[in-house]
Amino acid sequence: MTGVFGRLWTEWTIAISFLREGRAQSLMIAIGVAVGVAVIVFVTALIQGLQVNIIERTLGTQAHIRLLSPDEINQVLPPAAGTMQLLLEDKRAQRLRSINNWQQVSATLDQLSLLTAVSPVVSGPAFARRGEALQSVVLVGIDPVRYQKIIPLDDYMQSGQLRVGANDAVIGSLLADDLGVQVGNKLRLDTGQQNSAVVNIAGIFELGVRELDARYVYLDLKQAQALLNLPGGITVIDLTVADIFAAEDIAAQVGRLTSLQAESWIKTNAQLMNALTAQSLSTNMIIVFVAISVAFGIASVLSVSVVQRTREIGILRATGATRQQILRIFLIQGAVFGLLGSVLGSAASYLLVWVFNTFGPGLFFIPIPASLLLMAMLLATLTGILAAAVPSRRAAALDPVVAIRYV
């Protein structure tokens, strides 16, 4: 054996035999650490699982980033030098209008590796009419292949099939209920543009979001463009990204690139994000406080151990141990408490999560990523070393003469 490792061998051997000698004590503190680690891992996995689940559900029915035409604003001439300007301005009403040059924009976006899907959409308001029943709806003209990558509509089909074009439409389940229609029935769509069309209901979807299920009518791009009086135009470009939490940054980037207004899901779901952040904060608080109490547990056990081993520390010093070696012997004990406890705790939390996933309410699945367990072990080991710092220093500072005389 050579180098640092060879040196540490002795400290390691002594530390381990000290721990084995005080087996009951070691086991108890390891269990204490294990409980702490189990709580930390379980709570973290639970909250992460929950948050991922919530975010997945949210993002399952919306694009990560939407690109819209910038709002139309009034152009105000700057005042001439030395004059003052009083301005009474009415904001302009935003009419439905197409994104300029969208084919080119869309082709450019297709090249960006940051984006995983690009789907031009035309959407606008309309009325759906069947007999006397009248419902206000949102017409959404899509390219089904591209749109599927944004929202996997196929997965949400309740009846019929996802088929648009040639007068076929797909509508939400609540809308179908309200109008009393089924797959195969006909429906009249009216827009304020004196355009109307009778479409055939090819499929009914249920996204699980009230607003969408009660109002969305999917059409083929062409038909929607005609109904909304925007021939060849689109109003929105939907995007998805690989890293959903980078959506805000990517939105800003894409916005600058295209001079369009880019909204990320993070901004449109600000409330949700707030709630999730608050939740994460409280989890972190739990983690910090559990870690602190674990650290104090380790520190107190080691402090007692230093007193108990005063004589042995003296003997070691008299037989050639340096202060550094004594220090390391106790630091290693702290690290072992942390490591051992976290291994036990990780196993326990694994079991807990398995029980939750198998017998729990079944609302969602909690994954335990290996990285979380690894992090927990690393953190617990570091905490152990840190907690051992004070008792270890006291052990190293012991006067060998006093220590030897200690009975």
Binding site: L316, R323, Q325
Partner: protein
């Protein structure tokens, strides 16, 4: 005066005070001048409280003198830092205490190996072999794998002696090594020290309250109230055997 190859230890005006700077400051050693030779087999005697243990701890570099200088194998030690003192202690001094100070968690063999483990890391085959030989030399080859609490007091003290010898020290210091043993076992352990001195080229300085044992040493240093009152060579009774 410089140290020749025959000198292990030389003290010059060594003083030691306790509670320095406090109202109860007390000087325990009042200027000790002693030279210990390579092959000395000396007893340190004196009434209780005269400062024998204090002196021994200073000689073993476990403690630092208030003033004066201590030369170990020709090296002045007062200016050394803790690491250097520990290294010198580890390589050239063996300690044996009254209460056979062994580490309970380790076997007799590992206790003997401890000084080597602390200075060099994991012991190699040769070191283990050496430790077994030492255990055999103190008559404990069969007890190598016993824990200290499975050994008698005399056996434990012999393990402690074997441990003190593993580094092949130039000086063996023993503070009442037989104080805790019955007369017969004490005599056996004492004889072991004598053997070590003769066979291993190792100076021995041992503190004892037993006049018979001190008389059996080659030299008796008498410490009274922190001063050396007498330092005499005895009739070499043991050599006549």
């Amino acid at each position: 005066m410089s140290d020749d190859a025959m000198t292990v230890l030389r003290l010059e005006g060594l003083r030691k005070s306790y509670n320095v700077g406090q109202p109860n400051e007390i000087e325990v050693l009042h200027g000790i001048d002693v030279v210990i030779g390579r092959s000395d087999f000396a007893a340190l005697v004196g009434p209780s409280g005269s400062g024998k243990s204090t002196l021994l701890n200073l000689l073993g570099l476990l403690d630092q003198p208030s003033s004066g200088e201590l030369y170990l194998l020709g090296q002045a030690t007062s200016a050394m830092d803790d690491a250097a003192r520990t290294a010198l202690r580890g390589s050239s001094i063996g300690f044996v205490f009254q209460f056979h100070h062994l580490i309970q968690a380790f076997t007799a063999l590992d206790n003997v190996l401890m000084p080597l483990m602390l200075s060099r890391g994991k012991p190699d085959k040769l070191a283990v072999q050496q430790a077994r030989e030492l255990l055999a030399a103190v008559g404990l080859e069969k007890f190598a794998n016993r824990k200290p609490n499975e050994l008698s007091g005399g056996q434990q003290q012999r393990v402690a002696i074997a441990r003190a010898l593993i580094t092949e020290p130039a000086l063996l210091l023993a503070d009442e090594p037989t104080g805790n043993l019955d007369t017969r076992t004490a005599a056996e352990v004492f004889e072991l020290f004598h053997k070590v001195n003769r066979e291993r080229d190792c100076a021995v300085l041992l503190v004892t309250h037993d006049p018979r044992l001190s008389a059996a040493c080659d030299r008796t240093i008498n410490l009274v109230d922190g001063r050396i009152e007498s330092d005499t060579l005895n009739q070499p009774a043991s050599q006549q055997k």
